[in-house]
Each structure stands twice: as C-alpha cells, then as structure tokens.
C-alpha cells in the first residue's frame, strides 16, 4: 500500500520531518540531509519516505529481466583489495573463454546478457569487438549489456583506443547498454587504501558514462559499500552520480553493491541487512533523477531483496542463470525455476512483477 501525501507520516525521528516535506514536494535533498538518512535510528521513517518516492514513479510495480551473466575472463592486471574474482595469468583458477565458449553460454531466448571481466593483459580490443558482433549475430533477440567504464578506460590505457571510438565501435557491433560496475567508491582516500588507483577514477568513470549517454547507450551505476568507507563517502558518491545524471541523463538504474567478505576480509562480516535496506532507501531519496534503484538479490539475499521493495527498490535484477548454476554446482535447473524464484521475491512483498528487457521496455506484467 503506497503512502500518499495524506497518509499519516508516522516518522519517529523529528529531524526527518523537513526531509519528508521536501520529498513530498519533490525538492532535491542536500548532502547534510543525505547524511541524516544514514545516521538516523528511524529506519522505518527513511524507508517510508523512499517508498513514497518509489511509488510516485512506479506505483507497486517491480521490474525483473530474464538474463544471464557472462565473464569472458577473470585474468586481471589489477589487484583491488576487495576483489575475490581476479587472477593473474597462469595462476590457479584463472580462466579465458573463447568466443565459441561465450556463445555456448547464452541460451536462445535470453533477454539480456551482462558481460564483464578482468583487465586482461593481452586480449586486444578487437577480440572483444568480435565477441560482441558474434553474440549479436548468433542471438539477435538477446540485448547485450557489456563492459564497465573501468574496462572501457582500460582499452585506452592498454591499447590507446579512445572511449568514444571504443563505444561507437562496440555499439556498431551490437552493444545495447553498459553495466554500472567499476565505480567502487568515488574516494581518493579509498582508491589508495584499497589499491584501485590503477582504475578509472570518479572523473574518468563519469566522463565515460557521459560519452556513452551521448552516443545513445544507456548505462547503470553502482557503489560498493559495506567495507571501510565512511557515510560521508557514500553520500558524496551518490551526489556525484546525481550531478552526472543531470549532465548526461542516460543512467537507468543505480545498484548498491553490498561488499562480500569472501576471502578478502576487509571487515569481519557482511554489513547487516538493515544497512542494505537503509542504503537502498537513501539512494532512492538522493538520486531523484535516476529512474530505478535495484535490490540485487545475489548480494543481499532473497529475503532482504524482498524487504527492500518496501524501501524504494523498483528492480530486482533478474534470473541470473549463471549465478544459479554456480550456486547449484553442476545441477541442471529448469529455466522456469529461477523465474519462479524471482517472482516469489516480488510477490512476497505484495508488489506487481513486471518482466522487462535491458532497456526497461515492458515485456509482460506478471500479475
């Protein structure tokens, strides 16, 4: 049941009341107000405001896509402190997929394929260009979402191909949209501390998304939170994204990524679900120019993802076949099972599931 302006605003922290007025009036929140969203103990109050903002945009609809993730390689020249995925060339566990391997991973009927990978030391840009063209030729019905801004930047660092040229050629080959990864946290302090200074910085990351938007390529944005970042750094990150969206306008979805402790152990445990819910809500409230905020169920768990649909999230990503198969270790799961799982996350929260394509065109409303 969405809140309306006439609903009783049961907000327990009176400091939130001016924010509630601003949200209701559609006025943009300031940095200090953003910080308060993270500092107040009134989790329900923050959630209610975010639910109001979400409902105004999308009613009770929640979007999902039949998609799959593909990682061409995990070989990476970087050594980011938070990453469990990357391997050096020749190291145990390193993998390098051929174009044929990648094609074999994408079943007919997959609506969206999401492709990201390591910064490979040897693979030329043309290899990735051929990969996109081959997927597009083999699966014209599949929309290709590929390469983070960090990877596009790496094509420049390694092969001196300007982002505008790289993106134009990839678009020509069949690229439809870009994922939002590689943003991590826009903080010079953390870039040094967590050893990702060899990666596109805030300026460059935003520049590349701006170029993509100018070429008609829609993109997503992310933030990796729940490790050693400060609340101020989170808010600054969100505001930087909001400014970029004002300039170029091509962002579709913001996806807060809850840091997975894995073996990198920057902190002893994953941040609690209450922090995930709060971060999703604060993102919805601060990013007033982003169409969607996503609850990425793989990282926060299905239960928290379902609850996040009351905290401003309007998207749950998708069926993620690859993740499913990885989880189930060799088990051949029927494709309908994953869809049922995603529908359950949405229906459990009494929201209306809407199957979408990569660009948020409605495929079907699954009442």
């Amino acid at each position: 049941m969405p809140l309306t302006a006439s609903s009783p605003a049961v907000i327990r922290d009176p400091r939130l009341l001016p924010l509630w007025e601003n949200v209701r009036a559609g006025r943009r929140l300031t940095r200090d107000e953003g910080l308060l969203l993270f500092q107040t103990e009134d989790l329900h109050g923050v959630g209610r405001m975010a639910d109001f903002a979400k409902s105004r945009l999308h009613g009770d609809r929640v979007f999902f896509v039949m998609n799959r993730y593909v990682n061409p390689t995990n070989v990476c020249v970087l050594s980011c402190s938070f990453c469990d995925f990357a391997r050096k060339k020749g190291e145990a566990g390193a993998f390098e997929n051929s174009i044929e391997d990648v094609l074999a991973m994408i079943k007919p009927g997959t609506r969206e394929v999401h492709i990201t990978g390591g910064h490979h030391p040897d693979w030329p840009f043309e290899y990735f260009e051929r990969m996109i063209a081959a997927i597009h030729a083999a699966r014209p019905e599949t929309q290709i979402k590929a390469f983070t801004a960090a990877e596009i930047d790496y094509f420049w660092r390694r092969w001196k191909i300007e982002p505008r040229e790289a993106l134009a050629r990839l678009k020509e080959a069949g690229l439809r949209s870009m994922p939002g990864g590689g943003a991590e946290v826009f903080s010079e302090r953390l870039r040094k501390l967590l050893h990702y200074s060899g990666k596109a910085d805030a300026e460059r990351w935003c520049e590349i998304h701006g170029i993509a938007h100018s070429l008609g390529i829609r993109t997503n944005a992310t933030m990796l939170y729940g490790h050693v970042e400060t609340l101020e750094e989170r808010v600054d990150h969100l505001i930087r994204l909001r400014e970029q969206q004002d300039k170029s306008g091509g962002f579709l979805t913001f996806i807060p990524l809850s840091y997975q402790v894995g073996t990198t152990k920057l902190v002893p445990r994953q941040t609690p679900p209450t922090d995930d819910l709060r971060t999703i809500a604060a993102s919805r409230l601060l990013l007033d120019n982003f169409p969607h905020i996503e609850a990425y169920w793989v990282m926060i768990g299905e239960a928290t993802a379902s609850l996040a649909l009351h905290f401003g999230a309007s998207d749950v990503n998708g069926t993620l076949e690859e993740e499913k198969i990885a989880h189930m270790a060799m088990a051949e799961s029927p494709p309908g099972l994953a869809r049922e799982q995603v529908l359950r996350i949405i229906r459990d929260a009494r929201k209306t599931p809407v199957e979408r394509d990569a660009l948020y065109n409605v495929v079907a409303v699954r009442n």
Partner: protein, 357 residues
C-alpha cells in the same frame, strides 16, 4: 485505522479482533514495524536484545500422531526409529553444558512405550548432574502422552515433573490453536484445548512456559487471531508465559509438501512478529528466530518488535529433518545482534540477564 491503533497502543488499551485482523491483512509493513517498535521500546526502554545459550536435542523420534507438517517422526518399528536411554540423553546434556548452555530444550515424539519414570529420570538426572542447566523439557502434547500412558491426570504428571526439578516447559506443539487447522493437519493430536489445558495447569503450579505458533500452512488470518486470543486470555489468568515465538512451517519432506512448496517469506514473518508484539499486550517478550527464518531476516526482525534473538541451538534435528539447517556460535549471535543496532545480553530460560556484552 492506523492512527486509531497507534492511540490505543500509546494508551495501553488492548487491541480488539477487528484491529488485529487489519494489522494481519492490511497494515502497510513499515507502519506496522514502526508501531511495533514503539511498543517494544515502551516495554523495554533500552536497546537490549537477549539470547540464551542452549541446545535442542531429542530423546526419541518415535511417534504415533502422524502430523502432516512433520518430517522428524518415525512410526514405531521403522528402521530409522530411535529412543535414547537416560544416559544417552545425559551425554547430550553434558555436551551442551560443556559449551556453556544454560538451557536444554528437550523434546521428542509421542512414544507410547516410554513409562513416566523415564521422563522423571531425565529431569532428575539433569538437575543432579548439571546444576547449571535448566531442563526446559517436554511440550504439552508429550505431557498428555505421559498422562495417558501412566493413566494419571495431567496435573499429577506436572506435579511429579516439578517435584523432579522441572521449572519451565517449552511452548512447541501449539502449531495454530484453531480446531479447523487441527482437523486438517494434526487430527490425532490433542487440539487447542489440550495444549491450553497443559499450559494453564503448569502456570497454576508455578511453572513458566513459552507460547509458539507455526504458521504458513493451511491457516487463515482468523485462525491466527484465534491463537493469539487464546494465549492472551490464558496469560490473563496466571501470567505464566515468558515469551511468544512464532515461526514459519518448513514443508521439506512432509506430507503437506505436496500442496505447499515454500515456506512463507520474510514479509509474512515480520508482519507476524509485529502483530504479536502489539496484540499480546500481556506477554513480556517476543522472540525473533535467526534459526527458523535466517540470520539476516532475524536481524531485521529486531526492528519489527522482537526483543529476543532465541538460542544458539547447538543441536537441532526437527528443522534439519525438513532439510533446513542453520548454525551459529555465541560470538556470532553477539555480533549479529550488535550489527543490527542492539546491545546483546545473555539470559536464562526465564529471561533473567546473566551478562551484557
């Protein structure tokens, strides 16, 4: 309705059935959580969340009651059927005690082959050998089975258990206290009146107990309200309930699995907790179960009216029989409570604080 309920709660006025039904079926989840949290802090003003170090072993899986929701029991003579000797149970209590447990929640099937003296020995021996452990033994339906097998009234069985050293009873076996539900899923069990009678008699004799509810199968909201009304009325008589503990039915390996594929999710769980906090105005505590609903849902539940995080459950076999397994340690429970924004405190079976972390 929301502001009416809020005013009632603030004034300490008991919620009626219509208000309860609205909360169960219509209330927006965040408003509901906010109301429940206000109520929780009115009752327990500090940010304390308690937990108990405990274990949940079983003495037998032999059962003649054939409940459709149960994956744990075996019929007498089944090759997987087992019944432990008193010494074998004591070995389990010893293991729990060694890990710091102050509570052992012991329960089992309804095994007509066991004499009353077996049960009395379990209590007596636990008290004698492990003075630091509270024997939180035997649910209401087991007490009834003992009474039937021994040919004694329930009151006498309870008196003998008390004389042997028992001070508390676990609240399991209530399922949903509604005749309609009982006929559907547990026709051979004693039903709502029998469960309530055992707890009433226990409270009369000065024993304390918990009340539970297993929801998420065939019950309607009215059945849930029947359940809440019944335990609220009983609590008015003697005040013997320490806490209310709802959990969701797990369909794995049960007869009901054919119709019910999945357990009710986190939205239903938060709603149930918050409603019980608001509706059960005479219950001191509401327990969030990290165990039955998952650690992360359990942490969120602390913001929906719960003030207790349950036990560490070093051993558990009933959910495990439904292929549902979840493990923790004391350190992890402390960390989960703290991460959720509360102050962890270890408690006894009857909710006295032992230490604050």
């Amino acid at each position: 309705m929301l502001s009416q309920i809020r005013e009632s709660a603030q004034a300490g006025k008991r919620l009626d059935r219509a208000e309860g039904l609205w909360l169960l079926t219509e209330a927006p989840l965040l408003e509901l959580g906010s109301l429940a949290q206000e109520e929780r802090f009115r009752r327990i003003p500090d940010k304390r969340v308690t937990f108990v170090i405990d274990s949940n072993p079983n003495y037998t899986n032999v059962c003649v009651t054939d409940c459709q929701f149960c994956a744990f029991y075996r019929k007498p003579g089944d090759k997987e059927a087992y019944t432990l000797t008193v010494d074998e149970v004591m070995a389990k209590v010893e293991a729990a005690s060694r890990h710091g447990a102050t509570t052992v929640l012991l329960q089992g099937g309804h095994n007509p082959a066991l004499p009353l003296d077996y049960y009395l020995s379990l209590v007596r021996e636990t008290r004698r050998r492990f003075p630091g452990v509270t024997p939180h033994f035997f649910t209401a339906s087991e007490i009834q089975t003992m009474a039937q097998v021994a040919g004694k009234p329930v009151a006498e069985v309870l008196a003998l258990l008390k004389e042997s050293g028992q001070t508390t009873l676990p609240g399991g076996g209530a399922e949903v206290l509604s005749e309609r539900v009982r006929k559907r899923i547990e026709p051979k069990k004693g039903g709502p009146a029998a469960w309530l009678d055992v707890h009433r008699e226990a409270h009369r004799q000065g024993l304390r107990s918990t009340a539970t509810m297993m929801y998420g199968h065939v019950e309607a909201p009215e059945d849930v309200l029947d359940h809440l009304d019944a335990i609220r009325e009983l609590q008015d008589e003697f005040g013997g309930f320490t806490a209310f503990v709802p959990w969701s039915f797990k369909p794995g390996n049960t007869l009901l699995e054919k119709w019910i594929k999945h357990y009710k999710g986190p939205n239903a769980y938060l709603r149930m907790l918050a409603v019980s906090r608001l509706y059960l105005d005479n219950f001191p505590h509401v327990q969030a179960s990290w165990f039955s609903e998952g650690k992360r849902a359990g942490q969120v539940a602390l913001h929906w009216g719960a003030d207790d995080f349950g036990g560490t459950l070093f051993e558990e076999n009933v959910h495990a029989a439904a292929d549902y397994v979840n493990k923790t340690t004391v350190d992890e429970v402390v960390a989960l409570i703290r991460d959720a924004g509360f102050t962890p405190a270890q408690r006894t079976t009857t909710y006295e604080i032992l230490r604050t972390f």
